[in-house]
Amino acid sequence: MSAFLIILAVGIGTYVTRSIFIVALANRRIPPLVMKALEFVAPAVLAALVVSLVLRPDGSFDVGAPELAGFVAGGAAIYVKRNFLLAAILGMSAFWIVRAIV
């Protein structure tokens, strides 16, 4: 399947997730357990993603001091200030600074 078809499939699927209750199922009630489970999808998948991005094929972690510094600085910034711009700047700066030192 070409890259465009993959993207199109995810795009159509995304529209369905955003529209389904608004367009089609307004009067249906969703089971509370399903609603609860949906809340945990984002943290679970994002955490899984981070791990798979920093793992080398041989199973060892591809994270050194610069990456760790970047994650901590960016993470602290978003936790305290809820600001993407600040988190990106601080995270990348910490990454660059530690990389220059070590």
């Binding site: 399947m1 809340e39 960016g74 995270g91």
Partner: protein, 228 residues
């Protein structure tokens, strides 16, 4: 099809969404950069912006296609990330019952995280006011996101390799992750997902991503039950 909008509320939507949008500009630039790094045709890669219109899912799809992951695994990983929109859709359904049919079909296209956050608090507004505010803020995000990701595509290749800007991609995922953890069961979900992904990393086609996601959701539910 009369739009029937209240200009004051459209402008308020624009004004509220703009500062919020500015904070995601670096993220949009990173998407452009991820397109370049993935090696996909730039226009096809950029089409994730109008078609998927969701930063985290776009990054996932682009980086997985770039690493040669099987199509089915890419689509399922992308859709798993987008599943949270079912929550928004369900939460907004009663509000949209008061809206005309054309708006019920078009508006969900723009129901991204920030739009939900901005508009859910206006659920009790007069339907015309609600629609106007929604249109105003949606315009900011739709035009802003498509333009800034395109800018990232043009700026990306000009950035020296030595800057290692590629680190911005996992950095943004960590930032998104931390932003979403507001209760401890979510932290449990994240930690369990990370551990499960690590333990199953040997599985083909990044299946470990889905295993990790499923284990994380289950762990989150159990932690929530335990906290009740």
């Amino acid at each position: 099809m009369a739009l029937n909008l209240n200009g004051t509320l459209v402008r308020r939507g624009l004004a509220d969404a703009l500062p919020l949008f500015v904070t995601v500009i670096p993220f949009a630039l990173i998407i452009g950069l991820a397109v370049v790094e993935s090696g996909i045709n730039p226009l096809v890669g950029w089409s994730t912006s109008p078609l998927i219109f969701g930063g985290a899912a776009q990054l996932v799809v682009l980086s997985l296609i770039g690493s040669g992951t099987a199509a089915l695994a890419v689509v399922s990983a992308g859709l798993v990330i987008q599943a949270r929109h079912l929550l928004y859709s369900a939460a907004m359904a009663p509000v949209f019952q008061k809206q005309p049919r054309w708006f019920r079909w078009l508006a969900p296209y723009a129901l991204i995280d920030q739009m939900f956050a901005l508009t859910v608090v206006r659920s009790a507004d007069d339907p015309v006011d609600f629609r106007s505010y929604y249109v105003g803020s949606a315009l900011v995000y739709i035009t802003g996101w498509n333009l800034t990701t395109a800018a990232g595509l043009l700026i990306g290749p000009k950035i020296p390799v030595g800057w290692e800007l590629g680190f911005a991609v996992p950095l943004m995922f960590v930032v998104l992750l931390i932003l979403g953890i507001d209760r401890w069961p979510k932290l449990v979900a994240a930690l369990a997902a990370a551990a499960a992904t690590y333990l199953t990393a040997g599985l083909p086609n990044r299946t470990s991503l889905l295993v990790g996601g499923a284990v994380g959701v289950l762990a989150g539910l159990l932690a929530y039950r335990a906290s009740q």
